[in-house]
């Protein structure tokens, strides 16, 4: 059953790759001219086009593209004269670190606050949380990022201004470089998740078994953590998992603001430079990542709730 769910990924990824291919074939502008510069002779341009495979019919190019995807070959970058797969592989850890850190921020902030807000529904705390979630959803992430940069990197100098430090260079440096970007990226997601946790917890709190538990004399905390949390967790996990799409999308902007050399930034530069192989490859990898993460969440959901069978 689980294997089937993972296998169902493949058609979606193929569809995604096809959409990417179709979209980017329609782009005007000649990649060969971009690579060789303006003084190149027609003969040199023709030779490069042949090397890039652009003189073959569209069906052949599509087939070659899919075949390349299956074997991990994503073409050669026009800007960098290097294999796209390598460029993406180098940047993947950065984007994944950012997404993971942002997810951690989201969960750490949203779960406790959401639960507390539900437990003290309509109290000042709850109203404060509700207001915070509304603001969190309304404030654009790039603006938040710039404000955080100004406050914490420039004024207080607690964090470095930009750039990325890999884990190998020490957890401290890695965390310091990711702190502000993770908070920026996680804020909107935390707002969204907080509302959901609150709603799910409120529902649970209204149920029979909670009243029973309270009747039995169980303390508030036991009720919350023992019962409500576990049951509320199921829809929460689903929603949290669905956040990956937004997370990776938001990463594009956050990487730009904080100068993180991730896949998002690679896509942007590829678009500006009309570097189609890079854009195509990065777009497919990102979309495939989202599919994969969603599928994993599905499996997790199935594991958490034995009542649900994965379809």
């Amino acid at each position: 059953m689980r294997a089937a769910r993972l296998l169902a990924l493949i058609p979606t990824v193929v569809m995604t790759a096809t959409i990417a291919f179709v979209l980017l074939r329609v782009v005007p502008g000649d990649p060969a001219v971009l690579m060789l510069g303006l003084d190149a002779s027609p003969a040199e341009l023709a030779q490069l086009r042949h090397q890039l495979g652009e003189d073959r019919p569209i069906w052949a190019q599509y087939a070659a593209w899919l075949a390349g995807l299956a074997t991990g070959r994503l073409g050669t970058s026009i800007q960098y004269h290097a294999p796209v797969a390598g460029l993406i592989a180098a940047r993947l850890p950065v984007t994944l670190s950012l997404a993971a850190a942002a997810m951690a921020v989201t969960v750490v902030v949203a779960l406790p606050l959401g639960l507390l807000a539900a437990a003290r529904a309509w109290s000042p705390l709850d109203l404060g949380v509700l207001t915070a979630t509304q603001l969190g959803l309304a404030v654009p992430n790039f603006w938040l990022g710039i404000l955080l940069l100004l406050a914490f990197s420039v004024a207080l100098r607690w964090f470095p201004l930009q750039g990325y430090a890999p884990l190998g260079a020490g957890v401290g440096a890695w965390a310091a470089h990711l702190a502000l970007p993770a908070v920026t990226l996680g804020a909107a997601r935390a707002a969204q998740l907080m509302r959901f946790v609150r709603g799910a917890a409120l529902e649970e709190l209204g149920r029979e078994y909670v009243r029973t538990a309270r009747g039995k004399g169980l303390g508030e905390r036991a009720v919350l953590l023992g019962h409500v949390l576990r049951n509320a967790l199921i829809p929460v996990v689903t929603v949290a998992g669905l956040q990956f799409g937004f997370l990776l999308g938001g990463a594009i902007i956050v990487e730009q603001v904080f100068g993180l050399p991730g896949i998002g930034r690679l896509v942007l530069q590829g678009i500006f430079a009309r570097d189609l192989p890079v854009v195509q490859g990065a777009v497919v990898v990102l979309a495939a990542l989202v599919c994969l993460l969603n599928a994993l969440v599905d499996l997790l959901y199935g594991a958490l709730d034995p009542r649900v069978s994965v379809e």
């Binding site: 603006w143 990226l185 709603g199 979309a287 989202v290």
Partner: protein, 279 residues
């Protein structure tokens, strides 16, 4: 219960009212998107003659903010319009299709939904070029699967209902069935979905403009203004504050209004997490 519902709805309406009022004023009397360049007045802080100050070309920031609002709302409306029109009508007619055609369309929609919205918009803009019209189209295309999915689920459910079967049995044309029977049933949810996606579309336009591929100069855009403002943060912070606030207020207003609407239309719908097309 009703007090709470009203609070969100009315707060949202008030905020939106302020924004719409300002935008309407700018369009009717303020000169629209055309804000005069006056180089000798550049970088002036807020003052009685320029309530929000001037930018690095001497343009009145208040007028630019209001002009940017017009563009943001326009892009949002058209994008949602595209998503709604294409997604919903496709879903409605697809109900009568065979298994395989519907599945293929469904697979394409799944493929589209796998893309983070900003990424899809960027890819489409890579093809169409930068500008607010390509941005409208790009965001709109990203919204089609959202409306498709929701409408399809509902339309399928309604198909089996008695009044539809009766209408078909009585020989009503397809169009009539859709228009008089199916559409009124799905409208409430559609309206709510439209409001939710509207705020996301406004944020998407701002994000794309911030990245440089949305609304192009000299047209005002909140995202673009924020991008320009980052270069002058130390010298003219008002260039960054007001567009950011305007954007947040507008999105907040739309979200609150949508929440209030959802509560008013059907309390049971409160739990549906609407899709917001951008991070």
């Amino acid at each position: 219960m009703s007090r709470r519902r009203n609070r969100a709805l009315w707060t949202g309406l008030v905020l939106l009212g302020v924004v719409l009022g300002g935008v309407a004023y700018q369009l009717l009397w303020g000169g629209g998107s055309d804000v005069r360049i006056a180089v000798e007045q550049r970088l002036e802080p807020p003052s009685p003659s320029h309530a929000f100050g001037t930018d690095d070309l001497g343009r009145d920031v208040l007028a630019r903010v209001l002009g940017g609002g017009a563009i943001a709302l326009k892009v949002g409306l058209v994008a949602v319009g595209i998503g709604l029109a294409a997604g919903t009508s496709l879903a409605m007619v697809a109900v009568r299709w065979g298994r395989w055609p519907a599945r293929v369309v469904g697979a394409v929609m799944d493929g589209l939904m796998a893309f983070p919205a900003i990424l899809l918009a960027l890819a489409i803009i890579a093809v169409l070029g930068a500008g607010y019209v390509p941005a409208m189209i790009a965001i709109g295309i990203g919204l089609i699967p959202v409306f498709w999915r929701q409408t399809r689920a509902q339309a399928l459910a309604i198909e089996g209902r008695e009044f539809v079967l009766a209408a078909r049995g009585l020989g009503a044309t397809e169009a009539r069935v859709l228009w008089r029977h199916v559409l009124p049933q799905i409208t409430p949810l559609l309206v709510i979905q439209a409001t939710t996606t509207f705020s996301g579309a406004v944020l998407s336009e701002a994000s794309l403009s911030f990245l440089g591929v949305g609304t192009q100069p000299p047209l005002p855009s909140w995202g673009r203004m924020l991008l320009d403002a980052t270069r002058a943060l130390g010298v003219a912070p008002w260039m960054a504050i007001f567009p950011g606030v305007a954007l947040a207020v507008t999105v907040l207003g739309i979200n609150l209004f949508g929440d209030g609407l959802r509560d008013a239309l059907d309390p049971q719908l409160r739990r549906i997490a609407g899709r917001e097309p951008v991070a």
